[in-house]
Amino acid sequence: MKLRTVLRSAWALAAVLACALPAQAQNAAGREAAIKAAFLYNFAKFTEWADHRFGGESDPAVFCVGADSPMRPAISALQGQLIRSHPIEVMAIVPGSRLSPCHVLFVDDTLPGAIRRRLEGHEVRGVLTVSDLPNFARSGGDIGLYYESNHLRFEINIGTAGKGGITFSSKLLQLAVVIGRLSSRQPASLFADIADLFAG
């Protein structure tokens, strides 16, 4: 092969790569976001909030995510799905947003700084916080997603979640790596678990 032919082939290859591959990367990242969103949906299904967090049977379950988060499209796709009788409503968090309407909050580094500081100060109660940041549950979050040999796994910190009146069903706890100890508030969740066992 002449040098020019080699160069042309290389250019042709580069052109094809340039067209075909970024789209594929997009797909893979989107797929992973969809899987994480599905985890989020499942976590909500197996979580109980304190009674006052829902006014009525058909009040929405509010899923909050940073407005600039790469997870926002995938979480927005959950809109309208039911958590028991509550339809999911997705709320985008911008600087100055109030977190009190949120039932679930997806935490990543696109969340406004002021809100992340409030989370770190444990000022946010009664909101299920989920994240794929490393060691999230170990450092005070509720549920942390992590990778283990190409599969997603999750850790639940039962100590922190209990403080906001949030309880997890035993099914969720069986599948999770559970960290933290039952605090004095946990009997409520134990009863919920036992009820759950009889129910299902």
């Binding site: 020019r4 797909n27 949906y41 940041l133 005070g140 990778y147």
Partner: protein
Amino acid sequence: MARRGWRWVGAAAIAAGLVLAARPASADTEDFTKMSLEQLMQVKVTTATKAPQPWFSTAAAVFVITEEDIRRSGATNIPELLRMVPGLDVAQLNAHTWAITARGFNGVYANKLLVLIDGRSVYTPLYSGVQWDLQDLMLEDIDRIEVIRGPGGTLWGANAFNGVINIITKSAKDTQGGLATARGGNEDAGGAARYGGMIGSDTAYRGFGKIDYHAADTAAGGGTAFDQYVYGRAGFRVDSTPTPDLGLMFEGGATHDVEGDIFQRLTPTPPFPSFIEQAETPVTAAYLLGRANKAVAAGEEWQLQSYFDWTDRAQAILTERRFTWDAELQHRSTPWPDHQLIWGGGTRVTSDWTQGTFDVSLMPSEDTEYLVNLFAQDEWTPLPKVLTLTFGSKFEYVNWSGFDVQPNIRAMWHPTLDQAVWAAVSRAVRTPSRAERDLDFNYQVLNPPFAPAPTLITVFGNPQMVSEKVIAYELGYRWQPTPKASVDLASFYNHYTDLATVDEVPQAVTFLPGGFLNLPVQFHNEAHGHAYGAEFAGNWQPAPWVNLKSGYTYQLTKLTLEPGATDSTEIAYQNSIPKTKIYARASFNLSRTVALDFNARYVGRLPLGEANNPLLPITDVSSYWAFDARLGWQATPTLLLELIGQNLNRAQHIEFQSFGPTRAATAEIPRSVFLRLTAKF
């Protein structure tokens, strides 16, 4: 012309075919919300899509040797693994002696590279180099090796001059159960076993033992290189999380090696006839390291680490016993939104006891060196996922060389999510080694016509030595269009000052009995220079069962002596790295149980002979190609059989020639073929 046109179309069609073949089945139709948690946990996600990956967003020339690379390389030791890294020069002198450097200045006593194993510095202050024969682990227990070319002084301190190698072993939690491996072939044989278990639910441990044997090779000029060795190692690691926010790690190891060396020695009385001695060197070493990590809030963590390290090397010409204690405290936090701050401090005390001979001794024979340091580095992300700026500095005080500042500033820009452009300016220093300060080395006798009268050349240390300095300007680009393909380019320009030289001191010539002259040659900081180069690493998985990796390095060093300096090693150092270096690997998964790997590497010529000095009797080293191959068969889920061939294309070849204070024997590196069995239980 028409024919050429068709070829063009053909090439494009093949390329398109390859790309399409590489596309995964469309995932758009899957609705994950219909899946149960159990099902979701079974869904495979490629961690490579966790965009951006840590290495991808690092504003430095980073290369990560993964577990997969280790498994597929067929390597049996750490230096062999490092051969795949662009920008790193790895040359084997004989069975147990290696010359390894980053971006220039290679040699058996290469002194511009820092190597850490689980945070423990394994470089010796004796000559500021790494005793590669001692740095040996069960390769199965290594999680990854991160190689950073360029200065890393801000985080890692003095001597992270042109590069840092971080060897990170797996947590004991990830090495549960038993593993035994044995290999044997025409050159060497070895075996190792490891067992890992749990103590309670939050403490994991493992222990291992390992033994290796290598037969003597042929020396470069014929005869034996007397480089046989027997290595024995044992070690353990314990990982514990007593509470969710506290992580503890404790590890230790002990080593005993016996390795053959050839020494060129002098008789201590005039006319100082030289003689060759073959001697076995026993080396004993041990260490203990503990580390605690305490998370205090999301993104805020304290880390405390301390270790003891002890080495005893009894060479025929010099015995050195060294004891080192090191402690470090680090704090990571997010003090303001978009800022990641890391700061810390540390101290190290190293004491040695040496026993010299007429050939080599250190004055004083015992010495203690200590250092203290403080560092801070902030990573500021003014535009999340787009722009990150890193700036920081280390302030280090060493009792011998004084105070040094090692700052760096780095910028990382993602024009798109799958691309990264980075730039950095950094300064690093290398502190004078114990040998450079205190050596007393009767090197050789020069006779007429090289000297006016028979002259004994003695190399002396110099307590006035100062640190060598580098200012490095770096620019890099990365593109990861898909999880299956990536391109990494790094380029650098280094400006060196106060480089160490060994200069004749003719005004200090003395007369010895018998009409002999004694010419002192002393260490000084009498050279400066620059180096530039570019490094490329590429990765492509054209089909699910094929993996291609490649690397290319181009580099040049130009050194200049200050007026009046008479050093003769600078030209050798300048020519100690090849101008070009190529690496390529193709890995094939032929079936679920059979894997095939091919490695090829090219190392350009080393024009060492240009030094042309009677004090440095070295010659050029020819360029060479070397091919390795590995056939692996997973016979049962717990039994792996491998047939591995190294340097298959030539019966033997030479990779380096030793120069500098002492001369290690240069051996012909032979073709080697061996069988390896690995069983899990």
